[in-house]
């Protein structure tokens, strides 16, 4: 039994979510191969070969995969995947975009966003925005699975020495083309992989006030997130949103500032190891999930916290 893991990468390097997916593959058990599909992706392929527990890296380095368009990559994965018992990808926007196409091409079901491996054919996954956990069993010959990165520890990024094998296949569906990309410039860790996350809600009042969170985050080496209320109010861009409809995070420490704690938001952060809530309303639902709560004015408390850490 061999497992194919689709790497999340930017051609130069492997993204952290790949490491969590490798751990999920290890929990299933079997030979683990990683596919790096991109263009000029030698850097990412070399990094993939270093991941502990990976036995082979398949490298499809071709202009057809330059922007990892789902139409092209899914044809490649469906072609390569026929020889595997499981095909895994992280439940990132790339993984979610591409993998259902692979499942359809192989005529098998997809199991989305697993949070636990029970056995090689049985998995746990959250449904109803995390308000219920389903245990599902697949009878398909190839199991196509997206992995919720926060459900699994990261595999060691170094220590492995996998063989690298070039894949010549150049699949071009010809139905889509990349136009452009506007990625937020990050001088902080990415939300999805950060060890500490500081998030602001409607209580921040406006976008300018987020500065105090940025200062605190920089001191802690943290990523900055936001609640949907803060995003909808236009304080910060959408890619900062933590919650059911945004990003799901599970850092070591999550500091919720001026966030009331709507179910929507809790679905995105309740698996954090330690939760701190700072809110002026002592009845706010966020306090019911927080390990440490402090009631008061965030504009006094956040600068105090920043000075002491």
């Amino acid at each position: 039994m061999a497992i194919l893991v689709i790497a999340e990468h930017d051609n130069a390097a492997i993204k952290g979510a790949t490491l969590n997916t490798v751990t999920a593959a290890q929990a299933i058990g079997g030979d683990i191969h990683v596919l790096v599909a991109g263009a000029n992706c030698g850097g990412a392929a070399a990094a993939a070969a270093q991941i502990a527990g990976v036995s082979k890296v398949l490298v499809a380095d071709n202009a057809a995969y330059a922007n990892q368009l789902a139409e092209n990559v899914s044809l490649l994965v469906a072609e390569l995947g026929k020889g595997y018992s499981h095909i895994l990808a992280p439940a990132t926007s790339n993984g979610k975009n591409t993998l259902p196409r692979v499942a359809a091409l192989l005529d098998v079901a997809q199991i989305s966003e697993i949070s636990k491996v029970v056995s090689a054919d049985t998995f746990e996954r959250p449904i109803y925005a995390g308000n219920a956990i389903a245990t599902v069993q697949s009878a398909d010959s190839i199991k196509v699975i997206t992995v919720r990165p926060t459900g699994f520890d990261a595999a060691a990024a170094t220590g492995g020495s996998a063989a690298t094998e070039a894949v010549a296949s150049a699949q071009n569906a010809g139905t889509s083309a990349f136009v452009n990309e506007e990625l937020a410039k990050l001088d902080r860790p990415e939300l999805a992989g950060a060890k500490i996350v500081v998030s602001g809600g409607r209580g921040m009042g406006n976008g300018d006030n987020f500065k105090i969170l940025y200062t605190l985050a920089d001191k802690l080496g943290a990523a900055v997130g936001a609640s949907r209320a803060a995003v909808d109010a236009g304080f910060v861009p959408n890619d900062m949103q933590v919650g059911q409809t945004g990003k799901v995070v599970a850092p070591q420490l999550y500091i919720a500032v001026g966030i009331s704690g709507a179910i929507q938001h809790l679905a995105g952060m309740k698996d954090s190891k330690v939760i701190v809530a700072i809110n002026k309303d002592e009845e706010a639902p966020i306090f019911s999930v927080a390990d440490y709560g402090i009631v008061g004015d965030l504009f006094d408390l956040v600068p105090q916290l920043e000075k002491l850490v």
Binding site: A70, P100, T175, Y292
Partner: protein, 248 residues
Amino acid sequence: MKVLVAVKRVVDYNVKVRVKADKTGVELANVKMAMNPFCEIAVEEAVRLKEKGIATEIVAVSVGPTNAQEQLRTAMALGADRGILVEAADAEPLAVAKLLKAICDQEQPGLVILGKQAIDGDNNQTGQMLAALAGYGQGTFASVVKVEGNKAQVTREVDGGLQTVELALPAVVTTDLRLNEPRYASLPNIMKAKKKPLDVKTPADFGVDVSPRLKTLKVEAPAERSAGIKVKTIEELVEKLKNEAKVI
């Protein structure tokens, strides 16, 4: 250009779902049902395309139980011209995608718009699967859709920002939250929708096997997180984080 919109009947998003005592699923008896919120956005986008003169006809399709007719009537009250219900309760995304593919073969739409996911199963699969089966390009998690001639430019919400792709039509678009704000149906339009045509079909009419591939062994409530303590001062908080939780 004809636009096909898929809609799903789900538990209303305001309902706090409860897991059944026998762990076979969540409690659906006497619970308010509604159109999946992402599907509402899909219908709205189709109606806007019609208002701009780009779409000529909007066909709403649902795969679901008999009473999913209610959601098709809602779609028609919002502006869809007719509805097709394929009666199949609890069909998995792959089966729904196969049924939608068969309907695309008959209807030949220029664009198919779906919600990015349904808020019950949270699968986020059907649109991508339909696109693969039909050989279409896809613009998933869309926040902007522009149709020009035989192409569509779709801006997508991706990790870390936005990505724009150009798709040859016909294509599949799946909606994200910020694509638009759906309108409310007016009473006259709700009345008019009752007279619009609604075809009821079965999976057998399309020769599609909808038997499940996955077996749900159990459904449980997630582990509850219990409330911790309230601290009085930031000094106390920092002390706890350093010495008790050891996270900073």
